[in-house]
């Protein structure tokens, strides 16, 4: 192996992690504070993309790919589709938060406190970005997920997976029945 092409360890992991986390949080705040629904949707897409990047940092490329293809590419397009069809003007006139911001802030504080408590109690003595990382399994992430789902011995999520898809089918049929004028 020639020296110039040796596999370098990933660089600046904390930097990317905090960067992506910041993008996600800012995106999330924008989702709930923007009055224009399309802006909210765009902010949500940003959040989802940053989340996909976080999955990539966790060596879960398949999950990241699915996140992009399903959420950012598929579901959010449908979101935008629906948003464009409803009347934006009326939505803009309505007051947001419905005067529940006090409750909201309280709930957010409680949730934040919970996170901090969990983090401080369970990671006692550990650092967020340890020097010696556990190396990820050499097997590809895609195959790993396939094994988890479908393997004859280790596959435990097959039933749950199929049931979830059935649930979605029910939702689709329900939506069609409710929305369609004449079937």
């Amino acid at each position: 192996m020639n020296p110039s092409l040796t596999s370098n360890p990933p660089v600046a992991t904390p930097f990317f992690f905090y960067g992506l986390a910041a993008i996600m949080i800012i995106g999330g705040i924008l989702v709930i504070t923007r009055k224009n629904a399309v802006h909210s949707a765009l902010a949500l897409i940003t959040t989802l993309l940053a989340q996909a990047a976080l999955y990539l940092m966790l060596y879960a490329p398949f999950v990241a790919g699915v996140q992009i293809i399903l959420y950012a590419g598929g579901i959010m397009v449908l979101f935008l589709f629906v948003i464009m069809l409803i009347s934006i003007e009326r939505a803009e006139k309505e007051r947001q938060f419905n005067k529940q911001w006090l409750v909201g802030i309280a709930a957010a504080a409680v949730l934040g406190g919970l996170f901090i408590t969990v983090y401080t109690t369970t990671t006692k003595g550990r650092v967020l970005f340890p020097e010696g990382r556990t190396s990820y399994v050499d097997m590809q992430n895609t195959q790993g997920i396939a094994n988890l789902l479908f393997d004859q011995h280790a596959g435990t999520y097959m039933f749950a997976f199929e049931i979830a898809s059935l649930l979605l089918l029910v939702a689709i049929i329900g939506a069609v029945v409710m929305a369609k004028k004449r079937i």
């Binding site: 959010m76 397009v77 464009m84």
Partner: protein, 431 residues
């Protein structure tokens, strides 16, 4: 200096993509190369489309700017850059501003994983094809937001059509892709791959393009993809989102100048991107014709000289047309220009005969040639077909392509696993 040469040589002899090797410097170089190459390809495609379409339609196409209109794309680009950039009153300025960039980013980002050769890719992700499909599906976001932000009816309808069309055809496209991916798992270890390079490698190992695998299953899958990819890129006969006679220009009606040219750039690079997916999955990617059958150094030499010969031929065509140019003082510069262009092409052709270059450019050449074939198809479609109506388009997508794709997927799986299935059936009968 010597160290630099050694550094480059060490790269040339490696068998990894810069991304896989984690080499930041070479990755940057590759990104720049791909970006520049893609821009040139879009410019060339612009000129070629106009010329080929013109000749199909018994006219000449651009002839004024440069010999045979060779400089027309550059003139167009200059015009577009100098045009007034209009943001309509009442448009959502921020979204209006962002939309073209989303489209361009999505269209260019997919080229990160396109394998121009076993080592000629920016990187090789193990979710390569998934990445391509996912990121290219993001471009619809840009189109939808562009249509919405324009605050005008025609762009809005164009955007709605576009999003519905792209979301529906993605399903059929995905099914066709999955059936090709299933074929990659037909090896000893029974594990397939999503990596673009891995897919081409699998075709090499199985001594067959996936186009002809399990005849006619491979061809049908390719057919589904070939139809869906035209719909994905909003090109004729599926160009409803920008149907000129109905919606003036669809989602980019209100765009002008530079922003409009970004949409243009994105459309053509998206066409190249989906063509590269088709080439990689079914037509053997960078593999030259008959890599297994016609092996040996003689054949290698013969095939590796094809790029050089092609460029020499192009140069010869230029020289032939130089000789046919009118002998008039007014045409002096044009004649010289065409001769110069021919000389450049011939020089490139000669350079491709140099052994170190010859060994390196073969795979890039074959990949590009196959993609160029698809590009020609795009132009041909545009010259031949009328436009589908929206409901017919949806009918084709959901009622024809999707069921065919599903059946195909199951059939491919059954045929691929026939040995195991037969063994199981035998077991049942023996009991």
């Amino acid at each position: 200096m010597h160290a630099l040469v050694q550094y480059i040589e060490s790269y040339l002899s490696s068998d990894k993509t810069p991304g896989a090797a984690g080499n930041f410097f070479w990755a940057t170089v590759y990104v720049l190369l791909v970006f520049v190459g893609l821009s040139i390809a879009v410019i060339a495609m612009n000129w070629l489309e106009r010329k080929i379409l013109a000749h199909m339609q018994v006219r000449l196409g651009p002839m004024r700017v440069g010999p045979h209109g060779l400089l027309q794309p550059i003139a167009d680009a200059l015009k577009l850059l100098l045009k007034e950039d209009i943001i309509p009153d009442g448009a959502d300025k921020v979204v209006f501003w962002i939309a073209p960039f989303i489209v361009v980013l999505a269209a260019f980002t997919v080229f990160v994983v396109v394998p121009f050769g076993p080592t000629h890719a920016i990187t090789d992700m193990n979710i390569g094809i998934l990445f391509m499909l996912g990121v290219s599906s993001l471009s619809v976001l840009g189109i939808v937001t562009a249509g919405w932000a324009s605050n005008s009816h025609y762009p809005l309808i164009g955007a709605l059509r576009s999003s519905a069309q792209m979301v529906s055809y993605e399903v059929a496209m995905g099914l066709a892709v999955v059936s090709a991916i299933l074929m990659t798992s037909l090896n000893e270890s029974k594990t397939g791959t999503l990596s673009m390079i891995g897919i081409v490698q699998a075709q090499f190992d199985q001594h067959e393009w996936f186009l002809f695998k399990f005849f006619p299953l491979g061809i049908i899958a390719f057919g589904i993809f070939a139809i869906a990819m035209v719909a994905e890129t909003n090109r004729a006969p599926f160009d409803l989102p920008e149907a000129e006679s109905e919606l003036t220009a669809g989602f980019h009606t209100e765009y002008s100048g530079f922003r409009w040219s970004l949409f243009f750039l994105a459309e053509y690079s998206a066409m190249i991107a989906v063509s590269s997916i088709a080439v990689t999955l079914w037509i053997g990617g960078w593999l030259r014709p008959f890599p297994n059958l016609l092996q040996g150094s003689t054949w290698d030499l013969a095939f590796s000289s094809v790029p050089g010969i092609t460029f020499l031929l192009l140069g010869a065509i230029c020289f032939y047309n130089t000789a046919r140019m009118p002998k008039h003082p007014l045409f002096k510069i044009q004649t010289l220009g065409l001769a110069g262009f021919g000389a450049v092409l011939a020089l490139i052709g000669l350079m491709m005969f140099l052994p170190p270059v010859r060994e390196r450019v073969g795979d890039i050449f074959w990949f590009s040639a196959k993609v160029a074939g698809f590009m020609y198809l795009y132009i041909w479609y545009r010259g031949t077909f009328p436009r589908y109506r929206f409901d017919q388009l949806m009918k084709v997508g959901w009622k024809v392509l999707l069921p065919t794709g599903l059946a195909l997927l199951i059939l491919t799986a059954v045929v691929g696993m026939r040995a195991e299935l037969l063994a199981q059936v035998k077991q049942v009968f023996q009991r």
